[in-house]
């Protein structure tokens, strides 16, 4: 991000003053408040002129709230279900029943891990066929027990490994999309961080799709697009821009339903308020969805995806 260094310097200064005050007993609260105001202004200024590529970096920010800590913050009584019942358990795609604002739901979410070991085990949130087959199992349970489905998407994409191909990752994604579309319960997706291509859509073909303000949702990573279309890694920021992977253009294209506001500076600057905003948005949409009869819901869902980015639907809209 532009001016990142001056913001960091200011952040460090504030931290220093705090430490001084706590250990030394000198009252520096006034100075701190002033500096924090300055910091906030800088952040807002920077935030306002963020490029799409800045947004990608924010979506990937190592401290961004995500994975099981976020699930625990948003929902209560989360009970993790593990295993695909066919040979494995993928730690990159997780889920289980939980209570959200008093409502029983089934949550699916990508988990990228915070420590280096976790990240390695989770492959930074890139799920395998085992992950998507577990997701299908959890969707079956959700339908059986009539729990609305909440998908929290945050993945660079499905894991591109030899074993993934041997276990038919393409088929697992296809089946997962098919199962999501056929579910006889209300379904909702929030793109939390990165919504990476097939690995994301596998669990995101839901009745509604929301995006966090700084999330991205894309058919390919900007780096991948730069390499393939521009034949030039330097073109990555340009590719990020061209792909229209941030929330506002996707809202304009009619592909998402709501943008969930984040605190100035990004979700990581205030995980608590982020979780609250997220919970409120999810709760509202689930409330609305639950009032629609199931067959109507499925008909609406079909129409939504039948018309998604359709030449005809667009023509109708324009004409």
């Amino acid at each position: 991000m532009a001016d990142d260094t001056s913001i960091r310097a200011l952040e460090e200064k504030v931290a220093e003053l705090r430490t001084m005050m706590e250990s030394g007993g000198v009252d520096l609260s006034e100075e701190i408040t002033l500096l924090e105001k300055k910091l906030f202004a800088l952040r807002r200024e920077q935030y306002a002129r963020m490029s799409d590529w800045d947004r990608v970096k924010l979506a990937r920010h190592p401290e961004r709230p995500r994975g099981s800590p976020l699930v625990e913050a948003v929902a209560e009584n989360f009970y993790e279900l593990r295993g695909d019942r066919m040979g494995g358990d993928d730690p990159a795609l997780r889920g289980g029943p939980a209570l959200l604002d008093g409502r029983r739901i089934m949550i699916l979410f990508h988990h990228r891990g915070s420590t280096r070991e976790q990240q390695h085990a989770c492959r930074f949130g890139m799920a395998t066929p085992q992950g998507y087959r577990k997701a299908i199992r959890l969707m079956n349970i959700a339908e059986r027990l009539r729990l609305p489905l909440l998908s929290l998407v945050d993945t660079p994409g499905a894991y591109p490994g030899v074993q993934s191909e041997e276990q038919n990752i393409a088929g697992a994604i296809a089946e997962s999309i098919s199962r999501t579309l056929a579910l006889d319960v209300p379904t909702l997706t929030v793109i939390l961080g990165e919504g990476g291509s097939g690995g994301a859509i596998a669990i995101a073909a839901t009745d509604r799709v929301l995006m966090m303000e700084n999330a991205t949702y894309s058919v390919i990573s900007p780096e991948g697009a730069a390499a393939i279309l521009w034949k030039d890694p330097q073109a990555t920021p340009q590719a990020a821009q061209a792909l229209r992977l941030t929330a506002p253009p996707l809202m304009e294209l009619g592909l998402i339903d709501q943008i969930i506001a984040e605190p100035v500076g990004g979700a990581h600057t205030d995980p608590k308020s982020t979780a609250d905003e997220l919970r409120t948005a999810v709760s509202n949409h689930l409330h609305e969805l639950s009032s629609i009869p199931l067959d109507e819901l499925r008909a609406l869902r079909y129409k939504r995806y039948r018309n998604a980015g359709s030449v005809r639907a667009a023509a109708d809209q324009r004409g």
Binding site: G161, V162, R306, G309, A314
Partner: protein, 283 residues
């Protein structure tokens, strides 16, 4: 999703940039110069070494349906370039070029026809059209074909030749995965058979959606079948790829397809599959 080429496949590509037809083509496998008209007679297989030249959509259609039975059903739409995408060249330009080369609106040709008298709707992709990638037009065409088959109770045959999603349409292209799968679910409810033929290449978003959800899946020999491209896998994971990775026989061995057939026998194989799914007197 990258548009990729598998050098291990015994597939020979026609240079896609040339609009005018040359009389001679060179076999990339054995170097032989083959006469284009002769090639057509041999089902676009090199008579010297057996390598497959990939088929255009029209060639594939001709090789599969009864003579003169094909009646196009396309929507006549072209991509709206929803992102107004420009990389080194505007997407619009690429579209126009691909249209000029292929004579198609987009990377798919849909129509009805008969195969040994049995009616079917056939959708054939053309790899020359921006790598057979799936954008809004391909998605719409496949969804419309599936809905039509469901309504008219005619079997659907999809011949895949696709590098994946149409990157230039961004998220609009990704959503075609959901669209085609939704329409496939409609066909399933109508109890109408769906046969997929996977050729070179069947990959990315096309394989990770409707391409993997047929009742019967036939791989053409020489097909490349896989989600991620070999280079992506090697770069991301550092893994060495096993011999025969993502070939048709790899797909068969790993339970992804029902049969592997040569190009010569594909037509007979489809007839066989359709006759058992459609035949029977007691219904």
């Amino acid at each position: 999703m990258p548009i990729r080429r598998d050098d291990r496949g015994r597939y020979v590509e026609v240079e896609p940039r040339r609009t005018e037809e040359t009389a001679w083509l060179r076999c990339r496998e054995c170097g032989e110069l083959v006469f284009r008209r002769k090639l057509k007679e041999s089902n676009h297989i090199c008579q010297r070494c057996g390598a497959y030249f990939f088929l255009t959509a029209h060639e594939r259609v001709t090789s599969l349906v009864d003579e003169d039975s094909f009646e196009p059903l396309g929507l006549g739409a072209t991509s709206l370039d929803p992102l107004e995408f420009v990389d080194r060249r505007p997407y619009q330009e690429r579209l126009e070029e691909a249209q000029a080369i292929t004579g198609l609106n987009d990377a798919i040709l849909v129509g009805r026809g008969t195969l040994d008298g049995c009616p079917l709707v056939l959708a054939v992709m053309d790899f020359r059209f921006i790598g057979g990638s799936m954008g809004q037009v391909v998605g719409d065409e496949i969804a419309a074909a599936l809905e039509r088959c469901a309504q008219e109770e005619v079997p659907f045959v999809l011949v895949v030749a696709s590098g994946g999603a149409r990157v230039q349409e961004g998220m609009v292209s990704l959503l075609q995965m959901a669209k085609t799968v939704a329409a496939r679910n409609v066909l399933a409810e109508a109890a109408v058979p769906f046969i997929a033929v996977l050729t070179y290449p069947s990959s990315g978003g096309m394989l990770a959606s409707v391409g993997s959800l047929a009742d019967i899946t036939i791989a053409e020999q020489g097909a490349m079948i896989g989600f991620a491209g070999p280079r992506v896998i090697e770069q991301t994971t550092g893994e060495r790829l096993p011999a025969g990775f993502q070939t048709a026989s790899f797909a068969l061995e790993h339970g992804m397809v029902d049969q592997v057939v040569t190009r010569e026998s594909l037509r007979a194989e489809l007839t066989r599959a359709l006759s058992v799914l459609q035949g029977g007197s007691h219904g």
